[in-house]
Symmetry: C3
Subunit: 357 residues, 3 copies
């Protein structure tokens, strides 16, 4: 990859990405931009039809847009069935930030028994231990540590300061962001009279192909069996995945989510930021959990789930908490009224369902 | 800076910091301490008038205090309009923990095209890529990684294991604590039939002057436009700031806060620990959000905001949750009573405002 | 320690760990496994009597189990009073993942004044500054940073990319997982007309013996006094402990917990994942806090505590929030009915206890 982004004509972009061009095929594009306000010489995109009109005056020199909204823009237009997807592919051509020098930097520490594939880049300060295997075209960034026996698939990228624990198995095209910790010790403790005793953690982390792991996200190795992240899973920053979890293929998890041990999340789920998912539960496929949710039991039916009471002015918040704390009083007052009126009383306090907690 | 803290007379301290001294100007101070119990030979401070009397017996050899409370202390006293502020300046003189060796350590990797200012210290294992510019007097600690094209202002300190992504722009006197990740890839994904496709993240992180970023805090680079942290922002540990956020000047954010993408927080805000702020919203200036809050919509009025129900004994907690789950029953019972009495019913279930979620 | 796990006979295992063997003492065991499905040639354990029957068909070649359940298993059985504890000790013998090369790697940076004990391993890229003392048999993993004046007890393990701040005092047999930050600057700020001024943080982190600190967990140094983690404390990943906290001996804290400054937690407490504990409070000994709790005030009575409303289908969640927001209306309706009936009214809105917030 070049260190300097290319200049591409609109015609070349249209051809490479199979898009219809309305405009000047010789126009030179030097980069990408957002449409508001837009940058002359660059190309932007509009994926949301409702926003097209407000971007009509963009200073961008070209727009990737669906056919339905192409008329909104007066200048150069590339028509795409899926503008966001087409733009992602175009933007990749202008992204030089992931170029790397092929070869092993002289300050890296690579064990003699490690097998490094063709066209890999091993950056300064990287440490690759014995019996590691790294697939062709992968990049191990500065000060990354890959422990003994770990395997990393072809075309992967360990950005910087990434830790990959012993015997971890990581698929192709992995993207591990700075500070990610894959395969640290799980939190396995046995109580004894002399205090906590550590249960050795001997399982692995097994990660499929095309997985992204965010900055400072941690994924613990299994206790005896493995922790498994299936193909195409996308993990944002500062997520914690405890030992023996399994995350199903295609699931995307936003930042700051915590998942306790031995929990299984299905395929094609979306977990909103800062949600917390308890241990030893199962979430089925195609579940969407809103951000900041507290998931304490299994979810067996696909759909949308949430919890949490949104913030409000502090005075109202304090009153609301006080009112919730006074709910027993509401029960009492209702019961007193019902008794007074000799009505059939509603369900009393002790019969409530408490199965969630 | 010296590695060994200095010995200073009380007279010298008073003079340097413009404080009135009541006591022995020749007394030698060898360090700072808290007042309870206090350490002989050291100086402490009292900022809270209500606590002055309980510190009266402190073993500290001198106290920085306001004039109103000076009488409480029998020994050496330095009188300051703002005791905490004066003490911070005094304490800085006794802090040798940030001394560093000027020069580039032989185990650091510095690209030939990088420009390193005068009096900088580049520590062992630090990696500084091509076209980086670092201002005078800055320190890049052990095993930090500064990517291609990044700029760091004068007098900055990257403590250790810090990551600064490509083309990041960081102002003067930045303080980046261990494990901070500035300018990692944002979590930009486009759904497709073949699974998630990564949207390249080509914006920068732009950080003003006098910004502190806590340990293991992550700030993602923008997708197309920049993620912006304005002057004087103070970020505690383990905060997550997603792509395209803007944090206004002077805002302080406590630990473990998560802020989703494209959100703007105003100036001089304070965000309490572990709060979560949704994406694409705006919080105006001078907002205080209490800890553990769930902010889901824009805040347009300055003031204090909060959410969350505090912990209580588990038995009470479970009952309370059950009561909340039975609120529909309360509505039913009220309606039945009202009907029985032929009273005008209150607002029913389906009319509630649900705009927050 | 050997890099290749050993082969041990069941007889040798029984003898070393003082367990009764029912089966073939010459049988060679090559590792450990879980019982479901189990792996031939390996040994597993059953700690939960209720699960014994479902593991009866395990393919494991031996089982550690209590005498009560020994009869469930047809094959080789090691009888232990505490199967989990016995298994932890056995598993340790098969765990070669923590073997290290004794000596100082040539790419490590060790200050001449640092004292490194016998049989230590200092890995590639590790940085050990002046006046550090490291006890015998300890391992400082790749790219760890140990600041000036820090002390680390014998038999400790700093896994990788760990930061230990200046003058930190860490006991024997510490286990610090990748990315842990011990002794970073506390978040101490003084407001001034010119913005936030940093209060120097000059206290230490003092950690007892047998403490585990999880991956990317951060523990700030004290402002003036120390932050203290007592003996036998076990901290999971991504925990934040602010300045001047004290965590009592034997307390275990699950992942993603945040503890604000100057808070004391007693001995033998258990704090569930993602809970948040406010600043300047005290939690007594033997308290269990469930996960995701919001602890805002001191807990003086041992026992179990919790908060939070579990997730539910999004439609129900939104309605529930709306109902909570309408609680004032419930009060009004109750009051109207009571007035209509000329009953003594219940406690009104303004009398509520709000002391928690």
């Amino acid at each position: 990859m070049p260190a300097t982004p290319p200049l591409l004509t609109l015609g070349a972009i249209a051809e490479r990405h199979g898009l219809a061009l309305r405009g000047d095929p010789a126009f030179l594009i030097e980069g990408v931009c957002s449409l508001s306000p837009g940058i002359p010489g660059r190309i932007g995109f509009c994926a949301d039809p409702k926003l097209a009109h407000q971007f009509a005056g963009s200073q961008a020199s070209a727009v990737v847009v669906s056919s339905r909204n192409a008329g909104v823009f007066a200048g150069n237009v590339l028509v795409a069935a899926n503008p966001a997807l087409a733009f992602a592919a175009i933007a990749r051509e202008f992204d030089s930030s992931e170029a790397f020098a092929v070869g092993i930097d002289r300050s890296a520490s690579v064990a003699p028994s490690a097998r490094i594939g063709d066209d890999c880049g091993i950056a300064p300060g990287a440490v690759i231990e014995a019996d590691v295997a790294i697939g062709a075209g992968s990049y191990v960034g500065p000060n990354c540590v890959v422990r003994r026996g770990a395997t990393i698939g072809a075309g992967s990228r360990l950005e910087a300061n990434v830790y990959v624990g012993p015997d971890s198995l990581i698929g192709a095209r992995a993207r591990l962001l700075p500070g990610a910790v894959i395969g640290g010790r799980g939190f396995g403790l046995v109580p004894s009279k002399a205090g906590w005793v550590e249960m050795p953690q001997l399982g692995r982390v097994v990660i499929g192909d095309d997985v992204e792991v965010g900055a400072n996200t941690t994924i613990d190795r299994g206790a005896l069996d493995d922790t498994v992240i299936e193909d195409g899973v996308k993990l944002d920053n500062q997520i914690q995945i405890a030992h023996n979890c399994r995350i199903g293929a295609g699931t995307a998890i936003a930042a700051c989510v915590g998942i306790a041990g031995s929990t299984t999340i299905g395929r094609n789920c979306m977990i909103g930021g800062a949600s917390v998912i308890g241990g030893h539960i199962e979430i089925t496929d195609n579940v969407l959990v809103f951000g900041y949710a507290m998931v304490t039991k299994s979810i067996t039916v696909p759909g949308q789930y949430g919890s949490g009471i949104p913030a409000q002015p502090a005075r109202d918040w304090r009153r609301e908490v006080a009112r919730i704390r006074r709910l027993p009083k509401v029960d009492e007052r209702l019961a007193a009224i019902e008794q007074h009126l000799q009505m059939t009383p509603g369900t009393g306090d002790e019969n409530g369902e408490q199965g969630d907690l």
